[in-house]
């Protein structure tokens, strides 16, 4: 028990200490989180009337971010899978960082769902044990369960690994490996269920096709590793933790394949819908070209397509893919492209036209944007804390052995051995 307590104390002390740049980053996030608090206050006090949502387009920015972030959470498996199944050395060394990303992404999903709900004070109605579930009927009930399950799998797996590393004990593979394999399959399940959430509704023709789950997985395995590559490059530049080129290149390959395939699926969908051009194609047509003078979403669609295509071209060129000045550009483009595609390119046009044929536009209000930024900031704060601690342990900066020594030496010298990290 004493070890566990020391682990917690060491972890926290390590995380709260940092360079001015680190504090500036945290303060910046804190500022955005204030916006979130204000928005949440307004939502709770007055309902969702400050959003741009209507009875026609009743799901918007919040739900779109939720859908996207489930993908990011699932995308963490692109580290864990090659690391443990293909024994990829470079990724194996940093696999725990993927789990940390998954944890923060799931927490962000929950944040967005809470913002999306009309009555967040009734959240307990859908919590396991105390709530009531409409199983096996409701996809949202399944989604809640698989997300919570995924959160716990990663919390247990990640922190078990870190704790063992901290105490210098070997991992108990009989316990750890099954956990890893389950979480790999589970990662697929979370985004599949999110896709089912949308595509099982024939009332929304644009969503109602079986391609969505596989496309969701592919975009997740492009957007997730894109974010991870960006994070890895930052970690390499700003900390002493060296992430091997082989790891980054492996991820870049995965992004290339998945992005390419997802573009192909988009193309198939467009051809299928537009060739026959039935009423079911109205949503897609509205998205691509606008209809009846409404064309708010058109730039989003083409922008997203351009970003994804741009990323794909860069990634497909071996010289550019391995050039670490180009790679982050490609990753940012892929990330942004897929983010837009999940929100303005999928969720919103699904509601236009309405089932009775009404066209109405949606654009997020300032408050929605402030709350969204706040949710992301809170997510990034959690991510920063988790990653910093994990890196500290991987580096050996936080370790039970040194912690015991420090308790003696620190009192002698009064100097903290913690290096500066962002």
């Amino acid at each position: 028990m004493d070890k566990l307590k020391r682990f917690a104390i060491d972890y926290v002390t390590y995380v709260v200490k940092g360079s001015p740049a680190f504090y500036a980053w945290v303060a910046f996030l804190g500022l955005l989180i204030l916006g979130l608090l204000y928005g949440t206050y307004l939502h709770t006090a007055d309902g969702l009337r400050y959003t741009g949502l209507t009875d026609q387009v009743h799901d918007g920015l919040y739900l779109a971010n939720f859908v996207f972030l489930v993908g990011i959470a699932a995308g963490a498996v692109t580290i864990v899978f090659p690391a443990y199944v293909y024994h990829h050395k470079g990724l194996h060394a940093v696999a725990v960082l993927g789990e940390m990303l998954a944890i923060s992404a799931v927490l962000m999903c929950i944040l967005f769902i809470v913002s999306h709900m009309g009555r967040p004070d009734r959240l307990w109605h859908m919590l396991p044990v105390i709530g009531i579930y409409n199983l096996p009927n409701s996809m949202l009930a399944w989604d809640t369960l698989v997300l919570i399950g995924y959160l716990f799998l990663n919390l247990i797996g990640g922190f078990y690994f870190l704790y063992k590393k901290y105490t210098g004990q070997p991992l108990n593979n009989k316990f750890y490996m099954p956990l890893i394999y389950v979480s790999i399959v589970w990662a697929l399940s979370i985004h599949t269920v999110t896709a089912f959430l949308l595509n099982t509704m024939p009332s929304r023709p644009m969503w109602h096709h079986s391609m969505m789950p596989i496309r969701f997985i592919l975009t997740a395995f492009a957007a997730g590793p894109s974010l991870i590559v960006l994070i890895f490059l930052i970690v390499r530049a700003r900390t002493r933790l060296w992430i091997d080129n082989s790891a980054i290149n492996q991820l870049a390959t995965i992004i290339t394949y998945c992005l390419g395939l997802s573009l192909f699926l988009s193309l198939s969908e467009v051809v299928t819908e537009l060739y026959a051009n039935t009423e079911h194609a109205l949503g897609l047509q509205y998205l691509m070209f606008g209809m009846h003078g409404f064309n708010d979403l058109v730039p989003w669609f083409w922008g997203s397509l351009a970003a994804s295509l741009g990323a794909f071209v860069i990634l497909l060129t071996p010289g550019l893919r391995r050039d670490y000045r180009w790679l982050p550009i490609a990753c940012s483009l892929a990330f942004a492209g897929i983010w837009v595609e999940k929100g303005m390119g999928l969720l919103v046009p699904g509601f236009i036209p309405t089932p009775i044929g009404e066209f109405s536009q949606y654009f997020p209000t300032t408050l929605e944007i402030v709350v969204t930024l706040g949710n992301w900031a809170l997510g990034f704060l959690i991510l920063t804390i988790l990653l910093k601690g994990a890196i500290g342990i991987l580096l050996g900066d936080i370790a039970y052995a040194t912690s015991m020594q420090d308790r003696v030496t620190a009192s002698d010298t009064g100097v903290s051995p913690t290096p500066e990290l962002t």
Binding site: D46, G47, L48, R49, T51, L53, T54, D55, Q56, H58, D59, I113, H116, M117, G118, R119, D121, R122, L123, H125, M126, G131, I132, Y133, N134, N137, S138, M139, L140, A141, T144, L197, L198, T200, M201, P202, S203, R204, G350, F351, P353, T354, P355, I356, G357, E358
Partner: protein
């Protein structure tokens, strides 16, 4: 803080902690309703009753509408708002009934050659771009001087009380469900406002309370049912319930009573002699979006 404030806060706390209405025991249900009666009576300054009459044995409520007779006056929509305590006003206007106005299109001589392949072009169809009585693509914000307008047909829609309701299937917390006598109802106190049901409904029949409903005290209808027209709160979904506060007591829904042309019929589908059963047996009836297998209990017919 005065005593009454305290009592009110306590009441709302109790409301917050209460479970799903369907799973409550009879005593709990009675308590929940009494709590609401006290709160509503104070809030609206009149004696409000919250009824809990359960589904009647041997009754399956059904509805039939003669689209030939509908003149688009929308009195049904107004009566519904008043009967069912919907929110009104610019800020937050909620209507459960929408009357779609559909223009009667026509085929015209000028367009005969439109889309005809010239040379090796693609044939895309001559007159095919103008409407000719398009189902479910109507205007429902029309503001005519007089109804019915020339060259218009009307198709009122509301909740179809599907026998296989997709909205019930998707609700994660079993807040909305089909009652034994047919109507699909919502326990407003248990709804978390996720709006999944709104996405799933193929008839755009559900409405969301984006803020606290604007229900004028003097216009509030004090005769309510827990699962029907009692005042709603912000952040929950609501919809037509076939006026269960009336129909479970043997009355007609408000829209049926008010319709000036007698286009609307209501009755027990299990009784072969009821008006709706006879209409289904004798007239040509159709249901909207039958291909979705929702099995609406709302039938359209014409004579």
């Amino acid at each position: 803080m005065t005593m009454s404030d305290d009592a009110r806060a306590n009441m709302e706390w109790a409301e917050w902690f209460q479970g799903n209405y369907r799973l409550m025991t009879d005593e709990e249900k009675a308590l929940a309703r009494a709590r609401l009666e006290r709160r509503y009576s104070r809030e609206y300054g009149k004696a409000v009753s919250v009824d809990g009459t359960p589904a009647q044995e041997g009754v399956l409520m059904g509805y039939a509408l003669n689209i030939k007779k509908c003149i688009g006056c929308r009195r049904c929509a107004k009566a519904c708002v008043e009967e069912n305590n919907q929110s009104r006003g610019k800020d937050q206007e909620i209507e459960w009934i929408r009357v779609l106005k559909m223009e009667k299109g026509e085929f015209s001589q000028e367009k005969m050659n439109q889309g005809y392949p010239e040379g090796l072009g693609i044939q895309v169809g001559g007159n095919a771009y103008s409407p000719a009585g398009v189902v479910l693509e109507g205007e429902h914000y029309y503001q005519p001087e007089a109804v019915p307008e020339k060259d218009s047909a009307y198709m009122p829609i509301a909740c179809m009380q599907c026998e296989k309701p997709p909205c019930v299937k998707v609700c994660p917390v079993r807040t909305t469900y089909r009652e034994a006598d047919g109507p699909v109802v919502i326990d407003y106190n248990w709804c978390i406002g996720c709006r999944m049901c709104m996405s799933a409904c193929p008839y755009w029949a559900r409405r969301f309370n984006w803020s606290d409903p604007k229900l004028p005290k003097e216009a509030m209808n004090p005769v309510t049912h827990y699962l029907g027209n009692r005042p709603r709160m912000k952040g929950v979904v609501e919809k037509c319930t076939f006026c269960i506060q009336r129909t479970r007591k043997g009355r007609y829904p408000a829209c049926v009573e008010v319709c000036p042309t007698g286009a609307r019929k209501f009755g027990n589908l299990l009784d072969p002699n009821s008006e709706v059963s006879r209409i289904i047996a004798r007239k040509n009836v159709f249901r909207l979006k039958a291909e979705l297998n929702t099995f609406p209990k709302f039938f359209y017919f014409m004579d």
